[in-house]
């Protein structure tokens, strides 16, 4: 197991370097001179050429691209994501400031989505073609068809404006988190639920499940110990991607509910051509995805020992 983990960790290094290169190249492709954009906002009148040049020199924008990239990667290895052009603050600090806001909705939403999806998915598969199965599939279809922003507004109107149970938006109390968490969770539950159901149906038809039933194991034991464990393999993979997506920012939810998380932060940076923030965010996102994938792989190995053996 240790060798397996080490091998996976080593494999992350070239991928991570690729992400850093992509971050560096992509940020520079956007039209517009960052010096012009940043200084335009800091002065009441357009900046002079001397001021623009001073800004470029101070921020290394005049250096050859290879030098800029080398500096960027060196910084990454030192745990630095650069300094924001706009605020003058380290990008890492700015991200760290915003990550908690994102996590306060991402983690509960993920847990809620996973709990609902797996529970209903399993029940639907076990009670195939029952009223509950049809109902949950219809609900899932409707949920999948509703864009996130419509769901968000619908929840606000019903639970906040009409019922008066919750605040519309903002931060401060646990009540403020309910609507964004519900929006995120409900928007994702359907696909996870369908995946769980189809995976369970496939597993329930396997010989070893029939054998377990024939041997007289209790139904709950067959479902939970034999079927669900194997059925969760694809669910874990998709759930990992969902979690990474939540953690790296959910712009619409953050905007509608006035939550200053990672998503809105990076969108603002893109508009301002704040290259260090954009690059830092891409590296941050890539790193989160890599780590979540690693965890997913480890979980899969724990769920299915054959994966570990194959890798060895």
């Amino acid at each position: 197991m240790t060798r397996y983990v080490l091998r996976r960790l080593l494999a992350l290094v070239p991928t991570w370097l690729g992400i850093s290169l992509a971050a560096f190249v992509l940020a520079g492709l956007a039209p517009g001179d960052p010096a012009q954009l940043i200084l335009d906002r800091q002065f009441d009148e357009p900046p002079t050429e001397a001021q623009l040049q001073e800004f470029r020199e101070a921020n290394g924008l005049d250096d050859p691209k290879a030098v800029q990239y080398g500096r960027f990667v060196l910084g990454l290895f030192q745990g630095q994501l650069g300094t924001s052009f706009r605020s003058g603050e380290p990008v890492l600090n700015e991200l760290v400031e915003r990550v908690p806001t994102t996590l306060t909705i991402a983690l509960p939403a993920f847990a809620l989505a996973l709990t609902i999806a797996v529970t209903i998915g399993v029940l639907s598969a076990v009670r195939r073609n029952s009223f509950m199965d049809h109902g949950s599939r219809l609900a899932a279809l409707m949920s999948d068809s509703v864009p996130t922003f419509v769901l968000a507004y619908a929840l606000i109107i019903v639970l906040a404006v009409q019922a008066g149970l919750l605040p519309v938006a903002g931060r401060g109390t646990w009540q403020h988190l309910v609507l964004p968490v519900l929006t995120l969770a409900l928007g994702t539950t359907a696909s996870l639920m369908r995946l769980t159901r189809s995976s369970m149906l496939e597993i329930l038809g396997e010989d070893y499940v029939r054998t377990a039933r024939a041997m007289g194991f209790p139904s709950w034991s067959v479902i939970l110990r034999h079927a669900l464990r194997n059925a969760l393999l694809p669910v874990v993979t998709v759930a990992g991607i969902v979690l990474a997506g939540f953690v790296t920012g959910t712009v619409i939810v953050e905007t509608i509910f006035a939550l200053p998380g990672v998503g809105t932060f990076v969108v603002d940076a893109i508009f301002a051509r704040d290259y260090p923030v954009i690059q830092g965010f891409v590296v941050f996102t890539g790193t989160v995805f890599l780590l979540v994938n690693l965890v997913v792989d480890l979980l899969q190995a724990a769920l299915d020992p054959r994966i570990r053996l194959d890798a060895a």
Partner: protein, 534 residues
Amino acid sequence: MSIRPAHLTSRRSRALTTCLVLGLAATACGGGGGSSGGSAEPAAKQELRVGVAADPWIDDEGDRKRRPNYPLNADVCETLVRLGTDYSLEPMVAKSWELVGDNTYRFTLDKARTFSDGSPVTAEAVKASIDYTVAKPSIGFSFLGPESAKVVDDQTVDVTPTKPNLRLVEQINHPTYAVLPPGEDPLNDPKPTCTGPFQVADYAAQQQLVVTRNDNYWGEKPKLDKITFRFFPDDATRLLALQNGEVDLVTDVPQGVLSTLEGRPGTKIEKSPVGSVLMAYVARRTDAGVPKLLDDVRLRRAVAASIDTKTFVGGVLAGNAEKVSTVAPPAILGDFADMVKGVPYDKAEAGRLLDEAGWTRQGEGVRTKDGAPLEVSIIFSRVDLSNVEFVQAQLRAVGIDAKIKQLDAGAYRKALDTGDYDLDISQPNQNDANPAFLMALRWYSQATSKNAKIIAPGAGTKFDDLITQTLSAKDDTTLRRTAAEAMHELVDVEVGGIPLSGNYRIYAMNDKVRGVQIHPSGTNQRWASAFMAK
């Protein structure tokens, strides 16, 4: 991130979404729940909760860590003079001012003016404020230098711009130039000491700014004990918060949702006089000085004549704006505003001008010349798409094929600098009392922006000479008349800018909110007269 950010959606789709959301909410609530007018008697609790857009200090325009009253108007800091709602100048921290010499203004203070800590405002404080602002490049005090402010005595200070510029007083009312006590550093102090009717009690980035009454205020005491400004980046959420009673007032209501809000029980809509002009800037040449298609004044005039601004204001904007001929709010020109006529809507005349220029048309198609189609590109960034589409349709009606490009801030700035467009539709605010400010900033040959070289009539033109004269006009009448003459040259003769509509600032509030005087400028709103009725 797989979700498309709300910022990236067009303003029209945002407005439509907002409209739909509010419509649904109204239906869901059965239209009830409002009060029936309330009394004009002040309520016991004097707290106003204001829903504003994104935190202006950390927004998509970049971090503008300036003073607590700019860009958000929290009425915390004050300037030497203030801008009236008719764009006239009024005393504020300074009780009077006069021109002494050729390029120096003398400001006389009043002993009654105090900071919120009770200490008096002195000439030394004014000088320190100007010196501080000059020393901080991120604030941008472009027309003053380290030697500009000189203390004459405890109550008198002389201010001299670095270059001849008699527009100092009109410009110094901008909130950037707030008066602070010596040693104050509002760039790093979220709760600075100032002279305004309110003082900062709390600021939580992207969440809220809370101000409380300054009991030491030198002027008429504010009626409110407290104002909480809450930041809502999403228009629909902001309005739903009003509907849900979480805020009492929302600023800058999108035009598209006004009809949904109007007539709602318990909600009222209030509007300022015209504070900004939506207009089309015309690109005449590239950044290299090469003439572009619209360098031909006949084509510029044809474009202007093809746009029916009356229908635009009455239809697209549903009457929530005014038809104007000026590139700045007409009030700023005073009695001289009528000197600017605007190019009248006349499709036949537009066609005649295009024919004369050699752009001929077969039937209802796009005009051509030597086999090339008559195409123009329209760029915009933060304007509602429906406004631009209206212009596009009007041009199409006279045989001009207009291509629309909505650009983000970076791409938009680049296009402005390179001249990679023909028409730029945007809506600048008039935030100071200088009637020539916008013209000097955008079209003057000596303006420092790269875009001026692309749209300016050019050095030596009558327009340019008139702008130079406005810098040295010694009295208000001469200034306004000269600015009006310059605007006439720009709009009627050069057709360098095409005014489309004069827009209001629009606030929605519950009917218990009273006494709010909405300022047409985006940076001069005051709250001291507001109160909550029973």
